[in-house]
């Protein structure tokens, strides 16, 4: 406690004696200059100032809504560390910051709009849902991606339709953010699109679609099983693992047909799915496979699986 006081006093002394200079050049008003001077410490990464960083952030946050316009300006910084500091301060300010942040979603600079969307998502403030939906089809992909992420984090079902549309975005990063949001919002109507995304060309959307389906749970099982023999092998591969992660008897039995695949990698994934499913129902199929299997990696997983369920 004493050391915190010392740190704070040192910090105040620095400010009083003008040792702290401005973080950016274009601060004009005394308030902006004050914020900038404290922000130098709030965004410092140096070891020797680490104990002063949080008090400095608190100090700016204590200014409340008044500080928000300047903080939004500071989002234009080229330094990731500074942008992170702005986010953290805005989170500390909380709901009071929202009116200006919502208004700022209309700014021209996409970097600012993207960071603001992201921050609103972190703040999980539902008052901005309509504004985010309006911004979600921005021409810049970074903004679309941030909006999808934010809508997912806020968790308001009003965003379902927007998220489903973003699942088909031309940019993989946006599709991936939308898949995450679909999982967070548990959008049942997105299951078909998410299953299709298991075969996405880019691993981000593919893996996030799988996670979304796992979150949605049992409703996803049948559509996934129906797609295991898709021409796009990634759909079947990832489908097996997704079923394993959803777990249960239906999922375990659902991958059974894949143990007959000619491709050993697919057989590995099918056995691995049984291993993960926590269902011993498909063990018979695994034992059957063992009789004919020659691939060492498949055998490796067969043994692991049979060992796991041996006691059941």
């Amino acid at each position: 406690m004493i050391s915190r006081k010392i740190v704070f006093v040192t910090f105040i002394i620095l400010i009083i004696f003008g040792q702290v200079v401005f973080a950016v050049d274009d601060a004009v008003t005394p308030l902006e200059k004050k914020i900038d001077s404290i922000f130098v410490i709030a965004s410092s990464a140096e070891l020797k100032y680490r104990d002063m960083v949080e008090p400095a952030k608190d100090s700016i946050a204590a200014m409340g809504a008044e500080a928000v316009p300047r903080l939004v300006e500071l989002f234009r910084s080229n330094t990731a560390r500074e942008k992170r500091a702005v986010e953290q301060i805005l989170k500390k300010i909380g709901h009071e910051a929202m009116p200006y942040l919502r208004k700022s979603l209309l700014l021209d600079d996409y970097r600012q709009v993207s960071r603001i969307s992201y921050t609103i998502g972190e703040m999980k403030d539902s008052s901005a849902v309509a504004d985010l939906i309006n911004t979600a089809f921005h021409k810049n992909w970074q903004v679309r991606s941030s909006c999808a992420g934010a809508l997912g984090k806020i968790g308001d079902k009003a965003a379902d339709e927007t998220i489903i549309l973003l699942l088909a975005d031309s940019v993989e990063t946006v599709r991936q953010a939308a898949a995450v949001a679909a999982g967070r919002l548990l959008i049942d109507t997105a299951i078909e699109k998410l299953v299709h995304m298991l075969g996405d060309d880019f691993y981000g959307p593919r893996m996030c679609a799988a996670n979304a389906l796992i979150k949605i749970g049992h409703k996803s099982i049948k559509p996934i099983i129906d797609s295991l023999d898709s021409e796009n092998s990634m759909v079947g591969d990832l489908g097996c693992i997704t079923l394993g992660n959803i777990g249960g008897n239906l999922a375990a039995l659902g991958v059974g047909s894949q143990m007959k695949s000619e491709n050993p990698a697919r057989r590995v994934l099918a056995v691995k799915a049984v291993l993960q499913s926590n269902s011993s129902l498909a063990c018979g199929l695994v034992e059957l496979l063992k009789e004919t299997e020659t691939d060492p990696v498949v055998l490796f997983y067969i043994d692991k699986t049979l060992e796991k369920y041996a006691s059941r």
Binding site: L14, Q19, V21, E46, L47, F202, C208, V268
Partner: protein
């Protein structure tokens, strides 16, 4: 009918030839197959290893090769092998050409070429002093290059820049390259204001950087370096065959009339020196020196405000080269700087921007043989920004020592390279400038195959070390050893020898913030040691690869290492042959680990493709494993069926 048979034969021969040419390195095939195999088990595929080019604004200085490698980062392996393939000759021509070729901007359709001029008329204005025709021909060619061809190419390079802009590059802008020991005691606000000032410099640079047409200068540099190399080789052959008798040539001169200025005579003008076989001492700002022997002492100066190209040739002896100012010892700054030392155990004591450095210029330090010592501070030993900086050392047990930003170091539009063809070498960088952001007791290295950009502003260049033989030691602290940062590439290629790679963090095939970094070590029983963010690590949309092909190797690290992807990066460690030992202190984020970030993940791949291996960590011999991460795993299997012959392929 006869023609039909000829046609068929021709087609068959062509198809055969194409097949032979198309046969790729079988090791590389195994590695690719192994990767595909492991990735499929992780529900990934090799084409997942790709990044977008536009995570940040694409600036006008981004190199085409960096764009390509960003989209296909695993191609770093091929790129590095190809670069190394250019380094086996006596003549550095091939690798210089390769460096030039790889400095094409993404937005550039065709390269500018220096205009070949008939400079004969220039030298004709001189009176010959020496009577040897051969020697006069050499001097005449050097003269034309120094005062006609090279200045014209510099003028073309800088033609679109104002005087103020040119002065800015020489004065303020170079400050961004320096570190300062007093930073340790500076307050946060002072450091912040310095940082902001530097950002201001970078912003200003960005506004006019696209007007710098470096190709003219670099093309002229490579042409001149080739010409000088060829002439030196001929001269040495002539000396060897007694066709050129040094003592006789240097003493056989005309009788100079009284009151005639020296500048009128070819070889005697200001800034020129011609040294005989004895021990000589040179001090000053020279344009041209040729020294025929002896243990010589050079104290070299250069004024970047009055730039000029420099050529120094020393044919033999144990020589000492000392920088009295920056921009010396085979360095170019708005110029071409060439230094050829053809024999002897030499010492190069450089300051900043020295020993094969190109700062808006072309610098080459060629050392033919001997046990050499290279010392320097900042931006030294194969360092380049908007240019080419290179050391080409052909033999001997050498020691390279520098403080920071050195040893195969490149910033924007730069290609910095050390090629060391033989000998047991020591590379040491660091120990002077503290890494104050991260630690109280560790130092910045930023070298040994480092390519960096100016983060959030300008894409970077390509920095590398190619060491073809010998048991080598690479010592560094923070940020080094095949490390890339911000749309740039850093690489090390070490062909043969039992090598040691020691570093603390951000090293050994490591890349950060849209960077690319790789080490390829072909043969030898190698040892890798460090704390973290190393041994095949990519952090923040970056890709780091450590590929060790042959030998029984030892890998040690603490955390976030050995095939680890962080913040949507890719980290890959591949060991193809040998009985290896892997140790990690922290099993949470090592040996095939992908860190979850930005609501998705990263990719970490660990592959040991043959041998009996020992693990202290997640891995296990003859096994496949996944880590609790998004997404990563490892694979130790007898994937390569043929035993390692251990035979080293020699290319020469």
């Amino acid at each position: 009918m006869k023609y039909l048979w000829i046609l068929i034969t021709f087609l068959l021969v062509t198809v055969f030839a194409i097949n032979v040419l198309a046969q790729s390195d079988p090791d590389a095939d195994y590695e690719k197959e192994g990767m595909a195999h492991l990735m499929r088990l992780l529900n990934l595929k090799p084409t997942d290893l790709t990044f977008r080019e536009d995570y940040a604004e694409i600036d006008s200085l981004r190199l085409a090769v960096i764009s390509d490698l960003t989209v296909n980062p695993y191609r770093m392996v091929e790129f590095t092998e190809q670069m190394a393939g250019n380094c086996w000759d006596q003549n550095p021509e091939k690798v210089i050409n390769a460096a030039f070729d790889n400095l094409r901007r993404t937005i550039q359709d065709k390269r500018d070429r220096a205009i070949q001029q008939d400079g004969g008329g220039q030298s004709d204005n001189f009176t010959t002093f020496y009577n040897s025709m051969n020697f006069n021909r050499l001097l005449s060619m050097i003269h034309d290059a120094l005062y006609y061809y090279l200045p014209a190419s510099v003028d073309s390079t800088m033609a679109l820049l104002s005087q103020d802009e040119q002065k800015f590059l020489v004065r303020e802008f170079k400050e961004i390259i320096f570190e300062d020991t007093t930073d340790e005691s500076r307050t946060a606000e002072v450091i912040d204001s310095i940082q902001k000032a530097e950002e201001g410099y970078i912003e200003r640079f960005k506004q006019f950087a696209f007007k710098i047409r470096k190709d003219f200068l670099l093309d002229a540099g490579r042409e001149t370096s080739e010409m000088v190399y060829r002439e030196i080789k001929q001269l040495l052959a002539d000396i060897e065959s007694k066709e050129f008798n040094v003592k006789q040539v240097l003493s056989d001169t005309i009788t100079r009339p009284q009151r005639t200025g020296l500048a009128k005579y070819l070889g005697l003008r200001k800034g020129w020196a011609i040294g005989g076989p004895g021990n000589d001492r040179y001090r000053g700002d020279y344009h041209f020196i040729i020294d025929f022997g002896g243990n010589d002492f050079y104290q070299l100066e250069y004024d970047p405000e009055n730039p000029h190209s420099t050529i120094i040739v020393d044919l033999s002896g144990d020589d000492v080269y000392v920088s009295e100012t920056d921009f010396t010892i085979g360095s170019g700054c708005f110029s071409v700087g060439l230094l050829y030392d053809m024999a002897g155990n030499d010492t190069y004591n450089g300051k900043n921007f020295t020993c094969g450095s190109g700062y808006f210029g072309f610098g080459l330090l060629y050392d033919e043989s001997g046990t050499d010592r290279y010392n320097g501070d900042t931006f030294t030993q194969g360092a380049a920004t908007c240019g080419i900086g290179m050391i080409y050392d052909r033999g001997g047990n050498d020691v390279y020592s520098a403080a920071v930003n050195a040893q195969g170091f490149a910033l924007m539009e730069g290609f910095g390279l050390i090629v060391d063809q033989a000998g047991n070498d020591n590379y040491i960088v660091g120990g002077k400038y503290k890494a104050i952001i991260h630690y109280d007791d560790h130092y910045l290295s930023i070298g040994q195959g480092y390519g960096g950009g100016l983060m959030q502003f300008v894409s970077g260049g390509i920095g590398g070390i190619v060491d073809l033989d010998g048991n080598d030691n690479y010592y560094s602290d923070m940020v080094a050893q095949g490390c890339g940062w911000w749309y740039a590439l850093g690489f090390i290629y070490d062909y043969k020898g039992n090598d040691q790679y020691l570093s603390y963090q951000y090293a050994q095939g490591s890349a950060e913030h849209m960077g690319l970094g790789i080490i390829i070590d072909e043969y030898g029983e190698d040892f890798y040691r460090g704390k973290g963010l190393m041994q095949g690590v990519g952090h923040d949309y970056s890709c780091g690869i450590l590929l060790d092909r042959h030998g029984d190797d030892i890998y040690q690290a603490d955390g976030l290492s050995q095939g680890a992807g962080s913040a949507n990066g890719f980290g890959i460690l591949i060991d193809s042959y040998g009985n290896d030992i892997y140790y990690v202190r922290d099993t949470v984020n090592t040996q095939g680990y992908g860190n979850p970030r930005r609501d998705f993940g990263s990719i970490g791949l660990f592959l040991d493709l043959s041998g009996t291996d020992i693990y202290d960590g997640n891995g296990l011999d003859n096994s496949y494993w996944t880590t609790d991460s998004k997404w990563g795993g490892g694979f130790d299997w007898e994937f390569i069926v043929e035993p390692d012959s251990g035979k080293i392929e020699t290319e020469n």
